[in-house]
Amino acid sequence: MTTGIIIAHRSEAVGHDGFAQLLRAEWTKFRTVRGWVIALGAAALVIVLLSFVSASGSRFSFCPTGPSSCTSRHPAVPTGPGGEPVTDSFMSVHQPLVGNGAVTVRVTSLSGAHTSGSPVGGGPNGTLRPTSQPVLAPWAKAGIIVERDTSQGAAYAAVMVTGAHGVRMQYDYTHDAPGLPGAVAVSSPRWLRLTRIGDIITGYDSTDGSHWSDIGTAQLRGLPSTVQIGLLVASPAYFPSGSNNGYPSMATASFDEISVRGDLPTNSWTGEAIGANAFYPVLPTASSWHRLSRNAFTITGSGDIAPRVGGSIFNGDIGGSILVGAIPGLIVLIVVATLFVTSEYRRGLIRITLTASPRRGRVLAAKAIVIGSVAFAAGLVGTALAEVIAHHVLITNGNYLLPVSGPTEARVIVGTALLLAVAAVLALALGTAFRRSAAAVVTGIVLLVLPFILVYTLPAGDSNWLMRLTPTAAFSVQGTQPSSPLVANAYTVTNGYYPLEPWAGLAVLCGYAAIALGAATWLLRRRDV
């Protein structure tokens, strides 16, 4: 503390009132208080430590067919033709096709149900009571498919009727084109057709079997001469609104008027549950098929053919380790940043500071730069170490981590460090405005941490506004979970999905910090010290 006085005094004696001297004076004040420097180290340490604890407590356990079948390592996640992780599990009735050909079918009904068991994924958000009324998942699928082979992740093209999205043509997991709208029923059946010429697959739909319209064309590069053609039924996890959890669901479809043109070496249909018991909330006993006549089937299936997304039901890590580590680090930095200014008031040092440099706004700016920089440095070290360690521990514990690109990883680390820096500036501004450390610390913590507690304890969705409007929105910068319009999911904060884009969320916090800093400058200029 005395060093700060000497420097401020000297700078005035020499006649300098430059900003560099001011910065140096504030930096000296910070670094010469041993407790604050220790606290800075503690902030970095606690980020690493808590991330480690949190990652250690996240153990993978997967029991596909009951308690005796549990494994502590996640099953292989299939990757699609583009290398991206996908879900590929459904009920298939198929046979090989050699060379060019076409398959046509009429779908007369698609109905669904979800399980009566407990919700998948668990979680503290109240007890869900499944209703007995039939529920058809919006992305339940029934249709025809042309596949490279029946392995998971194989290249494919399909036309299908869906639960709530009409007829679709989809291929290679990520591509989607709409066909006829509306639901399928006995009174309004849908005819579907796929033609194969080389590696070009074209999908058609029709309401009467004679007037056809073209939905889309897919080029499946490197498609071998022999492919699998067949019928498919899938029903993805169903998410009641207001819930973080989902239920496995199943769907049953009726097919008739099946006709196939082309070279069929076996000329017999085989039923197979593709990817049953794999890494998807599938019902092991749900898949079945019944041949009603030579060209009519009833097929029941569960699962999905889609890009893989995050969330507890998909058993992937939701990126919570870094989050939990950052919060105690944040609390330590809020305390230090507040004390950086309030201790000047308590000891009367503020009078000397403001006598030495009477331009008060510049004093606050210098303090903000110093505390922001040291918080950023501590945060960067802590978060980078925590990310590496947590990643390693999570993998060792058998968890599945969705792939994250290098730039995204860097964004999480630098973004979290920036979050901590801006939060420290906000706490400094609060300390200046209140002049009392207790009020400033509690306001800072309540603004930045409490919204998380509320989001986690309130029904999903009802609390999204908290993650848009409060400074906690800045944690959006940690979001890495992929989402897809082709997959229904509980895209909630609890599952690692933030309502704002990463940098937009950080901008919300910057807005709060700017307003607080403005108010603090105004109060500092206006008030006597």
Binding site: L50, V53, S54, G57, S58, R59, F60, S61, G122, P124, N125, G126, T127, L128, R129, P130, T131, P240, S241, G242, S243, S312, I318, G320, S321, L323, V324, I327, P328, I331, V332, I334, V335, T338, L339, T342, R346, N399, S437, A438, A439, A440, V441, V442, I445, V446, V449, L450, F452, I453, L454, Y456, T457, L458, P459, D462, S463, W465, T494
Partner: protein, 257 residues
């Protein structure tokens, strides 16, 4: 002890911040509860614990109560008043006991107003959000045993939080650090429990955390699925408060002021 109580009562009563903080406790608690209840809506699939939902504001109210409790002790250190206090009353534990007694009274008073306001807000707002009798939600009422326990327990929760904060502040002495420690311990456990996927860890974290265990007292439905039973949970928080007060008391005895 009577003199100590009288002295501490005078200090507490004559500080403007005391009444402001108690008022803020009630206002913020009721405000958050009302906002949360107004933002929620009936969902046919889930069952909401509406008394618990209406008491959500305690999550914030406890922060204000902890400020009050921390300041009762740390203000003495920041102003140097502690030397005068201990000169006048050399039996240090009696001073701490007097402060704890008065804080209990203050927290009960503030807590009753806050919890009453929360329940009133819930009673008035919930039916308009679809939580109606035809949907299986009775009007909030203290005549309902579980709701009465949740309400009374929430007042006790605030009392224990204030004692816990007093203990921490006595041990740490600096207000900013003490509040950081108190809120860190309160808020960290629920967040940690949320991201830990191992069910055993998850359960244990909720059982030992002062906030997660203590707030089990607010649950009125599905008690068998709680990580810890309501009164046992409050007991865990009482252990935290007792340990903090004991540590604070020992340090107060041993250290120079």
């Amino acid at each position: 002890m009577r003199e100590a109580l009288h002295a501490e009562w005078t200090k507490l009563r004559t500080l403007a911040s005391t009444s402001w903080l108690l008022l803020s406790t009630a206002v913020f608690t009721v405000g958050v509860s009302a906002a949360v209840v107004a933002a929620s809506s009936y969902q046919p699939f889930g069952y909401q614990d509406t008394p618990k939902l209406s008491l959500t504001g305690i999550d914030l109210g406890q922060a204000v109560v902890s400020v009050l409790a921390v300041l009762v002790m740390s203000n003495e250190y920041s102003t140097g008043m502690i030397r005068t206090t201990l000169t006048a009353m050399p039996r240090r534990l009696v001073v701490l006991a007097a402060k704890a007694t008065l804080l209990t009274g203050a927290a009960v008073a503030g807590g009753i107003v806050a919890v009453g306001g929360c329940l009133l807000a819930g009673r008035l707002i919930l039916p308009s959000r679809g939580f109606t009798v035809p949907h299986g939600y009775a009007l909030l009422s203290l005549a309902h045993d579980a709701t009465l326990r949740a309400a009374g327990g929430s007042v006790l929760y605030l009392v224990l939080i204030s004692l816990f904060s007093l203990g921490v502040a006595t041990a740490i002495r600096d207000s900013a650090t003490a509040i950081g420690v108190v809120l860190g311990l309160l808020y960290l456990f629920p967040l940690l429990a949320q991201v830990v996927t191992d069910p055993v860890w998850h359960r244990h974290l909720e059982q030992i955390g002062p906030m997660t265990a203590g707030l089990a007292i607010q649950a009125t439905t599905d008690l068998h699925s709680l990580p810890i039973s309501p009164w046992a949970g409050l007991g865990v928080l009482a252990l935290w408060a007792g340990a903090a007060l004991a540590t604070g008391g020992i340090l107060l005895r041993l250290r120079d002021a």
